[in-house]
């Protein structure tokens, strides 16, 4: 039986989409780099303000990864298809990578702007909690032997973790702007971006969103191949 015949619908979609998406990503990364270089230097913060074009897009990627974990888990509980469990695993891992980078770029900006790497501010604290929750998800999955019981537990855990995302996003408003973290970025005429800063911010979001999807599809393929290799090693031919 050929590998094409063994592929599931989700895996076929991942394999066929990832190639063209990679070329789109390369173009977007080029345009993104150019717009960041060309972006005006902020009169208050100076050049360090340009971290804005990478830090929030990484946060949105992290949110997306954890939402994918919740969606994958919910569909797994509904359909009991292993494909969706692997979808959830891929979302968690890529989400953790993006969340980790968000937690690195944020303190770098904070050191240059606030003069300190970290503050136990509501946004930073909830972000750290969100990171720990999905890191625990990945660690628990890596230590378990798999199976439907693990997948069901992970699905429920992954869905519950998603509840922290709206809290993470709106925590600044919830704490009535007592947070020292800057407000969420607002687009439009009365937005929080200065002149000439909208395009690099948009390109940062487009490029890192595409990077997220490309990595997610690749991670999903790897997880599927690992599962197939494990089945073959166990003597099954599915």
């Amino acid at each position: 039986m050929g590998s094409e015949a063994l592929q599931t619908g989700l895996e076929r979609f991942a394999t066929r989409t990832r190639g063209p998406l990679g070329w789109v990503l390369l173009v977007l990364l080029g345009v993104y780099t150019w717009t960041v270089i060309q972006a005006p230097i902020d009169s208050v913060q100076g050049i360090i303000q340009k971290i804005l074009y990478v830090h929030p897009p990484l946060a949105y990627g992290a949110y997306l990864g954890f939402i994918f974990t919740g969606i994958g888990g919910a569909i797994y509980l509904w359909k009991e298809s292993e494909d969706w469990d692997r979808f959830a695993v891929a979302g968690a891992e890529v989400g953790i990578i993006f969340c980790t980078l968000m937690m690195i770029t944020g303190p770098i900006w904070a050191k240059g702007t606030w003069g300190k790497w970290w503050s136990w501010d509501p946004r930073l604290t909830v972000t750290l909690l969100l990171w720990f929750i999905y890191l625990a998800y990945a660690v628990l999955r890596s230590f378990s032997e798999g199976g439907s019981r693990t997948a069901r537990f992970a699905a429920v855990y992954g869905i519950l973790g998603v509840l922290l995302i709206p809290l993470n996003y709106y925590v600044i408003e919830i704490f009535d702007n007592r947070s020292i973290h800057p407000d969420n970025i607002k687009a439009g005429e009365d937005g929080s971006l200065g002149a000439g800063m909208g395009l690099p911010f948009l390109m940062g979001n487009l490029a890192l969103f595409t990077a997220f999807l490309w990595l997610f599809l690749l991670r999903f393929e790897v997880e599927t191949l690992r599962a197939r290799a494990a089945r073959l090693a166990a003597g099954e031919t599915s």
């Binding site: 960041v36 050049i47 360090i48 990478v54 790897v222």
Partner: protein, 33 residues
């Protein structure tokens, strides 16, 4: 400037390294590598 370079440099290095590790793993598992 060094903070800016560190932010973008670390992000690029980690994402490229992660992509590289996934591509290598995919090649190994599919018997291409």
């Amino acid at each position: 400037m060094s903070y800016l370079i560190a932010s973008y440099g670390i992000t690029a290095a980690v994402l490229i390294g992660y992509a590289w590790s996934l591509i290598s793993e995919r090649r190994r598992l599919s018997g291409d590598g």
